[in-house]
Symmetry: C2
Subunit: 87 residues, 2 copies
């Protein structure tokens, strides 16, 4: 078993209307001093077996194309845990 987490966020230079809406709402309900809010997506992918270099390369391909839009978004991929024995 292995768990891979992919976080997809809009690039910093892209306006984030959802984040802006949350920022406004936070101010209205009394949380002051909110400088910025960005909203993104998180994918938790559970895999049978281990994450070796080939699987990791494939996952990066997928994260950069299927899970994110490379024109607008950046992704961060992290392997939370992986079995070394391929169980």
């Amino acid at each position: 078993m292995a768990r891979v987490v992919v976080v997809v966020m809009l690039k910093p230079e892209i306006l984030d209307p959802q984040g802006r809406a949350v920022q406004g709402a936070l101010g209205r309900i009394g949380l002051g001093g909110v400088a910025d809010v960005r909203q993104g997506k998180q994918f938790i992918i559970d895999l049978d077996g281990e994450v070796d270099d080939a699987v990791l390369a494939q996952l990066h391909d997928i994260a950069g194309s299927l899970l994110s839009n490379p024109v607008l978004e950046n992704y961060e991929l992290s392997v939370e845990f992986t079995d070394g024995d391929g169980a």
Copy 2:
């Protein structure tokens, strides 16, 4: 400055159709052995000043009501960094 990250995921017992769709797509494009995919939201909140206990309590209130639906979703809140001097 402080940065707070709130991750909102559907509770494990709630069916996640978006995650299920991604799981199907991963299989079709050749990534085998995908046991499960769950999709959630991530909020990155940048605050002026430091996160003290009062602000943290307020943030938990907000994460549990405004940012997530407590009937369907769980949230995880983490303070990524905070200035201790209230700058």
